[in-house]
């Protein structure tokens, strides 16, 4: 987890942790690099409607904002990939980098949340327990575990920035 260090912060990553973080963000970059499919719940969540009751106005706004928003998301995911070695290790972040990581981790959790169909009623621990009982090797167990890990990681990073 992240802790303060000098003017920024530091965290130690196991190889397994680095691998999963890099995998999720790599998938996001790939998802954002092609043509955006708004039927995909992840894309829908990344580029939400700006006008709740006006689909065509929302679509028009999206045309204006989509390119920039897409670039920002790709850049912030790439920043994490550039900072985090695949084998893990100690990572130092400046305040600016911390804020970029924070947004990238948000995207990672949003993407996983969309894939996992997380709702206000979801209890992650219970879901994980049930998924493990059904099939410990299932992708759902993997996704839930990663989601939970990223939640704690992000919380620690917010904690550093808010201190």
């Amino acid at each position: 987890m992240f802790v303060r260090s000098g003017g920024g912060c530091v965290a130690q990553f196991e190889q397994t942790e680095a691998v999963v973080i890099r995998e999720v963000l790599g998938e996001i970059i790939e998802l954002l690099s092609g043509r955006l499919d708004y039927r995909d719940p992840v894309i829908n969540r990344f580029f939400p409607d700006m006008y709740v009751n006006d689909a065509s106005l929302s679509a028009e706004m999206r045309r204006y904002t989509e390119t920039d928003l897409r670039s920002v998301k790709v850049e912030q995911a790439q920043e994490v990939l550039d900072c985090l070695p695949p084998q893990g290790g100690r990572v130092f972040l400046t305040t600016e980098q911390s804020e970029i990581w924070l947004r990238a981790l948000t995207d990672a959790r949003l993407a996983l949340g969309a894939r996992l169909n997380i709702t206000a009623e979801t209890n992650i621990d219970e879901e994980l327990d049930e998924a493990v009982m059904r099939d410990p090797t299932s992708p759902q167990v993997g996704n839930l575990s990663v989601y939970e890990y990223l939640t704690f990681l992000q919380e620690s990073l917010v904690g550093v920035l808010m201190a």
């Binding site: 700006m50 006008y51 904002t65 992000q154 808010m162």
Partner: protein, 102 residues
Amino acid sequence: MVAVAMTARAAPVQEVDTTEDELVLPDTPWVTVVWDDPVNLMSYVTWVFQKLFGYSRDKAERLMLDVHHKGKAVVSAGLRERMESDAARLHAYGLWATVDRG
């Protein structure tokens, strides 16, 4: 929104701050609304409000709690173009924001 009990945090300030921070909406034509979502951390949302709008920690936290408990909250008010810009910036931080008449 999600809360993670990881570290001991200072208790919320008890005094009511009546100075700067009430969002007064007399004849402001448009507003930016942030909606609750099941993924974003309460602490992160608070941080975003401070970062993007320059709100105090207290005000940002109150707004976040409004979003959390009421399902949505107005986070800024003003001209339409400005609200669209605010909403776009909030989207860049992964929040779900919309624009509406004030």
